[in-house]
């Protein structure tokens, strides 16, 4: 017992020492004279070659196990390296993967409760990155993730006590952060009243079904209500009111598809203005595409300016017309001087004709025209 704890104690000390050393190294490598001689990327590569979890500042996590939850959902259990700064239940991490040479990043809520050493992300197989995670990531793989972020959490116990009555409301893959919150409530022996309402297509689509049944047995004041949309249609606010009569006395944590949450938000605003409602929205809402030449609103995050792009002119010309002076060069798409990150929205490449709506994409302003409202890092 003694040896095991002393080894784990020493390991803990080694990790903290590494944190101090790596921060120092990063600071030194940023000095111009030092970076002239040794690139930070070179040091990072050497560290990664020594051990895949080693990094100067990036959080890397090893996939410890993969659990199949439903026919299209898997949970990846991750063991992070020493750069991991912890997470509050309900927060998310951004997972970075490289697919066919290109880096992609997606946010996934941690379904694990805070305080557990191993992290869990529960991924539904539906898009490019989630398909990659399902098909290519096996135990032993190492992923690069961001630190945790997000405000969809229980109140900080030091600052204010937990509410006496809680409603956890989720739909589809929105169950992931809500499950983390429920696990956290269980771990801290929460004695208040919890109602958990979840909507999904049918019984086989219910993620965490076994664990939810188990928690019902372990938490006497937990009430579980599942709503299957294939049988009863979508969960409307009126139906919710019927399931949870004392809705106005509950603090609610809600997560699910955007349109459904919008309806819930409207209901709360009109019927329950005094009740606390916390919600988590995954990603930004998709933008409506416009026809060529129709006006589109361009929001520039760096300069804080917004202007309307009218006509089919390139974003570079439109920005200049609006009084901005973006960096530019050849103005014909070959020198990459005007490249800029498009946070969201659709643009068309006027040289290739390709339309792309990906988030956080680098585009060349001199050959791109807006095809929807666009947000640029300009």
């Amino acid at each position: 017992m003694n040896t095991a704890s002393s080894i784990s104690g020493e390991w803990h000390n080694a990790q903290r020492a590494w944190l101090r050393i790596s921060r120092r190294l990063v600071h030194w490598l940023e000095q111009p004279l030092v970076s002239a001689m040794m690139r930070r990327s070179a040091v990072d590569d050497v560290l990664s070659a020594l051990h895949p979890l080693l990094s100067l500042s990036e959080v890397r996590a090893r996939v410890v196990s993969v659990k199949v939850e439903t026919f299209d959902t898997k949970t990846l259990m991750l063991q992070p390296n020493s750069h991991w700064q912890g997470a509050r239940s309900g927060q998310f991490v951004r997972v970075q993967v490289e697919i066919q040479g290109k880096r992609h990043e997606r946010a996934y809520s941690l379904s694990s409760a805070e305080g557990t050493g191993t992290l869990a992300i529960t991924v539904k197989r539906q898009g490019l990155v989630s398909q990659y995670l399902h098909d290519n990531v096996k135990p032993g793989a190492v992923l690069t993730i961001s630190q945790a972020s997000g405000t969809f959490t229980l109140p900080n116990e030091d600052q204010q006590p937990l509410p006496e009555r809680i409603l956890l409301l989720s739909a589809g893959s929105g169950i992931t952060p809500v499950m983390a919150i429920l696990r956290s409530l269980h771990a801290q022996h929460y004695m208040g009243d919890v109602v958990f309402v979840h909507m999904c297509s049918n019984e086989s689509d219910l993620i965490f079904s076994a664990e939810l049944k188990r928690l019902q047995g372990q938490m006497p004041r937990l009430t579980l209500a599942t709503h299957f949309s294939q049988i009863h249609g979508r969960l409307e606010p009126s139906r919710l009111r019927a399931i949870v009569p004392d809705l106005e006395h509950r603090s609610t944590w809600m997560c699910g598809p955007g349109a459904w949450m919008d309806r819930m938000h409207d209901y709360w605003q009109t019927e329950l203005p005094a009740a606390a409602l916390h919600s988590e929205r995954f990603g930004s809402p998709p933008r409506m595409m416009v026809a060529v030449g129709d006006p589109a609103e361009i929001s520039c995050t760096t300069s804080g300016r917004t202007f309307t792009a009218a006509g089919g002119d390139t974003l570079l010309v439109q920005a200049e017309r609006a009084g901005l002076a973006p960096k530019h060069g050849c103005r014909m798409g070959i020198c990459a001087s005007c490249q800029c990150v498009k946070a969201s929205g659709s643009v068309q490449n006027l040289v290739t004709g390709e339309v792309s709506s990906a988030a956080n994409e680098t585009i060349r302003l001199c050959i791109s025209a807006a095809r929807s409202d666009v947000t640029l890092a300009l």
Partner: protein, 360 residues
């Protein structure tokens, strides 16, 4: 040399060339993916390993054999960093990966040239105005007279010597190119703009000298002279090699020169033709191509500057076929042949041209 008479192409033919070149570009760019990223990362690893080996041999070795191998390994690293890696990454050929280490706007290379200034003089200026006399400042580097259209001045008599000095210190030539000293002297560049560029250039030079001529020699203690001279020779080898390869890109016999007035309202097809006829290639082995950073495929590079360079040999046969189809010259040859025509140009135009230049 006169303005080259190009085969008369109809507007329809030029448009057809535009479509065909676009199609060739699309066929490669649609397939750009993991293999391309793996290639450039492999080049970066080889470059680093070569640098570490070279510097270690110079630092810790004794005797001439370890010195020569050390210098060659370090020179190899510097050449790869300058050509296959630096030039290509800063062209934006790998921006699509989203890897911040391969981003054209933040990449740093191991020569005495500020990266932002290089991107301006090369990506923006040279690639847009390729071979337009008076606009493409890369033609002769504002130093050498290479065609009879350029006005002869008595200083051109010394240009064989200027050429030698430029070759030996090529990294400084490249580094100071964007300062536009000539234009500054004629008052076309403001004092503030010039000073800020000069400061950045000198800062980069300072960092390079600190690294190669102070830090590493001092670090090696008693081996300081050996390391200092070794670093100097490695830089020299890189300078000479990059000079030869780059000069063979646009200064060989037969490259077309253009007048600014002929290039107004250029279509993309016109631009493609100007890029093609204004560039020349070098033939060689796969290793040779890598060591030139694929600038041996100058024609393909000028048609597709943001295509990962190691794909140029793939499209070269298609471009050659296109040239044959439309009667355009595909200017290529061995390194010796092409460079000898460059030298011939330098010597020939150090003297005033005998007859008035004939207009095409």
């Amino acid at each position: 040399m006169t303005y080259t008479a190009l085969p008369a192409l109809s507007r329809a033919q030029i448009d057809a060339i535009e479509q065909e070149v676009n199609a060739i570009r699309k066929s490669v760019m649609d397939t750009v993916g993991q293999a391309d990223v793996d290639h450039i990362r492999k080049m970066i690893h080889i470059c680093r390993a070569s640098e570490i080996t070279g510097r270690a041999l110079l630092h810790f070795g004794f005797g001439p054999v370890s010195w020569v191998t050390g210098v060659l390994a370090l020179a190899n690293a510097k050449v790869l960093d300058n050509m296959e890696i630096g030039h290509n990454v800063m062209h934006g050929q790998y921006d699509w990966t989203g890897d911040p280490r391969l981003n054209s706007q933040t990449f740093k290379w191991d020569i005495a040239c500020d990266e932002e200034q290089w991107r301006h003089s090369h990506n923006v200026n040279h690639h847009t105005h390729t071979n337009i006399l008076g606009k493409d400042r890369d033609f002769g580097y504002s130093l050498l007279r290479l065609s009879s259209e350029q006005k002869w001045k008595p200083r051109h008599l010394l240009q064989p010597l200027a050429n030698l000095i430029l070759a030996l210190g090529f990294q400084y030539g490249v580094g100071s190119h964007d300062l536009e000293v000539g234009r500054y002297k004629y008052g076309k560049v403001s004092k503030e703009a010039f000073k800020s560029k000069l400061d950045r250039f000198l800062q980069k030079c300072g960092r390079q000298w600190f690294k190669d001529y102070l830090f590493f020699p001092v670090l090696s203690l008693w081996n300081a002279p050996r390391v200092l001279v070794g670093n100097l020779c490695a830089n020299l080898i890189r300078n000479l090699w990059t000079y030869v390869v780059i000069f063979c890109g646009h200064f060989t016999e037969g490259v077309a020169l253009y007048r600014a007035e002929d290039c107004r309202n250029e279509t993309r097809g016109d631009w493609y033709i100007r890029q093609l006829t204004g560039s020349s290639n070098l033939s060689g082995s796969r290793l040779f191509h890598i060591m030139t950073g694929h600038l041996s495929h100058q024609i393909e590079h000028h048609l597709f500057p943001d295509m990962p360079a190691h794909r140029y040999p793939e499209v070269a046969p298609q471009i050659q076929a296109l040239c044959a189809k439309y009667g355009l010259r595909y200017n290529t040859g061995s390194l010796w042949k092409q460079y000898s025509t460059v030298l011939k140009r330098i010597f020939m135009h150090s003297l005033p041209s005998r007859a008035a230049p004939a207009r095409a």
